[in-house]
Symmetry: C2
Subunit: 246 residues, 2 copies
């Protein structure tokens, strides 16, 4: 009897050309599909909750595959897949689920984290895992500005064109908050959905606030105005998909 | 007038064959000496506070070099050296110091940190930066055992032979403590000096305690007994030189 397997996967996006399979480049989806083929001899299509760009990391991305049967226990899938995956991609757990569950369409929301190192010199241990902003950032302004993202807004100004037709660009941000630990600033966004490059554009806007280039309450104007000249896309390496809510 | 430059350097030990120059292998010392040559055109000898093994990391190793003059300001040294170093090695700051200062002989003590991931599956972000111990560790026993290292002891049983002649093996550990954050266990040792592989042998003993193979108070016996069969050297990748005290 066919079976749907849901799994949680963490990855360091650094070495990969993003999540989604593409003609050129080594992607997370490719690696996962290859591991399923090597373990079970089955060609499967991996459906992720969302596509992360090249360099973007995940602490707990969620995905599913359809298998021919349930003969292989879920714990064995975890160990077997990891045996065929590089240490930069780790399947954390697997579960057989109802076939009505869909990693992408059943998702109720996502949490993204953006990490910024504001140290004068980037630690070797933050390389590839944070945006290194050398000029001093005003943390309080960033924290105040982050709160302005909370609520239901049209984020049309906070997405990049991916060549797809016009879509509904209204999203609800349940929480947006900045934290500081030493020279590390972390921004966390919890929302019902994120448009293409939305988390990175929001993070870029908050850094602009921290540098004094735009004021905290101007975030609201940025959401409305057609003026895109102040748009800054924060680099991929600082972004982490923290979890998918269902 | 000749000048002595002291500097603090952080490095990810993963890609290197340790600190000290050697006939074969790419070492941190080699990279630093090459950077000094490329920046100042001077062949210098880098003297570190201590040699870290292949794979061991440093958050703030200390070293010094002797230069022909003080013509190049200290801030410029930092930026110039980093321009010639890989991102896995970062000079954090430089200072001209009295020629009586010696990175190794003036050191009053060091702080080492050992990181252990006790998660069932090693996060891609801990790969190369923690010892992955899969079997569950009893944290309380480890914390209790760590305290037994505090004080002045003969650490002859907690060092590996490096082919050097017999030496004084008495060292004072000012503090040794274990911390836990989720599945990550961190042990920190603050001592007046550390013998070859001492921090890794101490960490290995604490993991043996956490696995129930030796009891917490047996640490004291291990310090005295000639029985070396329970010795476990914790892997290099979990060890961080945190700072050098002067």
């Amino acid at each position: 009897m066919p079976a749907r397997l849901k799994f949680i996967v963490a990855y360091d996006g650094g070495p990969f050309a993003g999540w989604q399979s593409q003609a050129r480049g080594d992607t997370i989806q490719d690696r996962l599909e290859r591991a399923f083929r090597e373990v079970g001899g089955q060609r499967v299509r991996v459906h992720g909750a969302g596509r992360t760009d090249a360099g973007v990391h995940a602490l707990a991305q969620c995905a599913h595959v359809d298998l021919a049967d349930r003969n292989f226990p879920k714990e064995k899938w975890t160990a077997a897949l990891n045996a065929f995956l590089p240490p930069t991609i780790r399947v954390l757990r697997c579960n057989y689920v109802d076939p009505k569950f869909h990693a992408r369409f059943s998702a109720k929301g996502k949490v993204y984290r953006y990490r910024i190192s504001n140290a004068p010199i980037l630690s070797p241990f933050e390389k590839g895992r944070a945006w290194h902003v050398i000029r001093p950032l005003d943390f309080d302004t960033m924290a105040e500005a982050a709160a302005h993202f909370i609520g239901k807004h049209d984020f049309a100004r906070f997405t990049a064109n991916r060549g797809t037709p016009a879509q509904d660009t209204v999203r609800t941000i349940h929480d947006a908050r900045a934290r500081r630990a030493g020279s590390l600033i972390t921004i966390e966004f919890d929302g019902d959905g994120f448009l293409y490059k939305m988390a990175r554009l929001m993070s870029g806007a908050l850094v602009q606030c921290g540098l004094g280039k735009i004021r905290a309450r101007q975030i609201v104007d940025l959401l409305r105005l057609q003026n895109a000249k102040q748009r800054v896309v924060a680099p991929a390496e600082g972004l982490f998909l923290v979890r998918v809510r269902y």
